[in-house]
Symmetry: C3
Amino acid sequence: MADARFFHRAGPFLLSDIAALIGAEPLPPETEAIAFADIATLETAGPDDISVFSDARYMGALATTRAGAIIVSRKLAHHVPEGSRLVYVADPRRAYAQVGRLFYPAAVPTPGIHPSAHVHASACIGPGTQIDPGAVIGRDVDIGERCYIGPNVVIGDGVLIGNDCRIGANCTISHTLLGHRVEIETCVTIGSQGFGFVPGPAGLERMLQLGRVIIEEGVKIGANCAIDRGATDDTIIGAGSVLDNLVHIGHNVRLGRHCVICAQVGIAGSTTVGDGVMMGGQTGVADHLTIGSGAQIAAKSGVMRDVAAKTVVGGFPAMPIKDWHRQTIGIARLSKKVE
Amino acid sequence: MADARFFHRAGPFLLSDIAALIGAEPLPPETEAIAFADIATLETAGPDDISVFSDARYMGALATTRAGAIIVSRKLAHHVPEGSRLVYVADPRRAYAQVGRLFYPAAVPTPGIHPSAHVHASACIGPGTQIDPGAVIGRDVDIGERCYIGPNVVIGDGVLIGNDCRIGANCTISHTLLGHRVEIETCVTIGSQGFGFVPGPAGLERMLQLGRVIIEEGVKIGANCAIDRGATDDTIIGAGSVLDNLVHIGHNVRLGRHCVICAQVGIAGSTTVGDGVMMGGQTGVADHLTIGSGAQIAAKSGVMRDVAAKTVVGGFPAMPIKDWHRQTIGIARLSKKVE
Amino acid sequence: MADARFFHRAGPFLLSDIAALIGAEPLPPETEAIAFADIATLETAGPDDISVFSDARYMGALATTRAGAIIVSRKLAHHVPEGSRLVYVADPRRAYAQVGRLFYPAAVPTPGIHPSAHVHASACIGPGTQIDPGAVIGRDVDIGERCYIGPNVVIGDGVLIGNDCRIGANCTISHTLLGHRVEIETCVTIGSQGFGFVPGPAGLERMLQLGRVIIEEGVKIGANCAIDRGATDDTIIGAGSVLDNLVHIGHNVRLGRHCVICAQVGIAGSTTVGDGVMMGGQTGVADHLTIGSGAQIAAKSGVMRDVAAKTVVGGFPAMPIKDWHRQTIGIARLSKKVE
């Protein structure tokens, strides 16, 4: 079970209620009234815990599990030892995530503004919103309902924040419009000046950065990311996209919807990324490119040209992934021949 | 036009005044008294806006622009449709940046120390300087005139800051001397302990990090960067250099003047970089190297040897850029032959 | 000497005391009572300073040094000009680090909680601990003795911190157990939600992140790092390991003891790293891998497969370092032939 120092568990819950939540197949009636106290992995589960089997790699743990019930798909069910209590669903991983949120519901904000927070008189704070110690909320800021603003967060003048957003401690947000249900981890910068300079007689002169950042609804942003505001157009993070830690997004980047951007990725200025794009960790994408919807970019790639929709690329410079694998093998062979 | 939530526009301004500011060629006298209300891109400009045409790539927008006047060079002027009102300068991009600062002047600090800031009694704060809520200013700190110190910034004991500096929210600066007109975005660390250890009987023991960071005048540092202080010598960022987001600078690095360091670059300890060096995003430079003045390093390079002045390198390991391009092509051909 | 603005020097100290501290060979009796005022490099040392010669690369400085005494090994002593006062030890670099800590002892916390810090009534703060302005200490937090908690640090509910820890300004720590003598630089995130999602009908749904971060004793973490908490298991940083700046550690990563992780490294989720592993800067390690104890990974490597204990790998994809060097040379030759 999760450490009670950090996680507050609800329940217990009846198996019938759990099954209804996740749209499971009908249960044997005699099991419906069994109560479960927690979720747990196959290795650690006991008779009061509900667990999941979603991948044949975990067959070893399955053989010896003491779980009181196992969420499983019809496809994988034949692996399960006889006598186990099974809950059938189409997508066990997703069902397990849902059950997890039942036992460990997201923290609800405690409405109110801490007396040590600095909220400008012109700011508008929605009902149900919690503002923690040391937060600084600027002029004309508008924060929606049921938001959580962590300690020492700094929200610049004019920023608009939707409902049900969570902004972690020590973040700085300026020149930004946030949609509903946006979640931002800690130490994140959003709205900083982009990196645009023009040579002058006394050195580099900064180009004005007069755009904004638009974070659409449901976006999740990892810790210590930096997202620059636009120079002329806006920087946009499309609805439902998720960013891991330490990601850099340059000015005027337009990231589509439901993208998955892994840790330490950098996307340079004015690049447009379609919907549903996946980028592996430490990938770099050059400026002014177009990455088509559904493209997948392998970890640590260096993307120097446009990527067509639904293609898979990898390597540095990035190329179709099959070419990269072939090159990797080819180089190994060739360099042996040379000796 | 820029979003009035975030940007405060000055003006309108007479075309004669704009032309004088940017050193334009003499205007037709009948146009001098025309007033302009804003700057705008060719696509979005209306009759009251002044725009710019600086690159033949934007010819499409030029054909249909409604801009009231266009800043342009003699060289590109023949692309402009007849009947447009033109303002001739030698460097349109730079002129446009200057006009931008006329319409959107940098915010002037509101002098004063917020009552919730913690300023040590021994600190010296210059006239015109603004210190925001929650900032913590240590013992014997000396801050110049007209500086802006953002919310929750932490300035360690003894730090010296010049005039007209801007330090964004949630930055931490220690063991550092800052020149005039230094601009630092948010969540930046400057002056942290360098990464030097020596094996001992109980594990790694830290080498003392007794140097400082010296940031010369006019330097601009992006969000979430980390710059270590020197171990014995100082870490130095030369005058006028600009760093993008999430850059790492190791201890004892000496970066020259007017360098351009793109996002997520890392420069390891004790490397010396000359003046006017450009490094593309995600480049890594190993420790104890010398990078000559005017060198250019392509994005995502891995620099493992010294780089001569004025050379252009790329790849991993970094090599002359022509060699890298040749290798990239050669590998593609060879790996096809092998099959 | 170190800048007195930032570093407070102790001493002077007798050579006999210095020699005893570092386990030096017996000195000529007539030198034992000589007092030294400071440490310094060979280049900058004067007669009152003690210096070190630990590497033949510095022979130039050795020839002209004015240092009052030089710490040196028997092996390198023949390089030293006659007439120099020598202090013989087996490991001069380590001895010099020890002498450095004698002259520049680590700052001792000034016990007490600043009135502007927000410490929850249920938190337990050990004797000798200093809590700086604006720090926010959550419910049921337990902080040991003689700790330093910097300005605007945010410690989430339930976090446990051992004795003699140092947490730099603007850090955010949640869901974490810290051992004794842990040192964390500034703007660091520890305990953020890991990057795990499962597709649902309305887009990506977050997998619950119910694990913790366990930082064992003596760990040192650089500036602006981000360490995610576990999803089901814990994320673990083993005793004595050191992390440089801007490092990303994914959920469920288990890093062994006495590892050296250079700047901008990223280790993806659920990877297990043995003891004494070294990773060069900007290295990326894919998820669910096993890196054996004593392995060394060259800078900027992309590790896509398990690495056996005590092996040295490099390149992208990472391979045995000799293969990578051979490939690098082979490619250069082959691509010339192709032309």
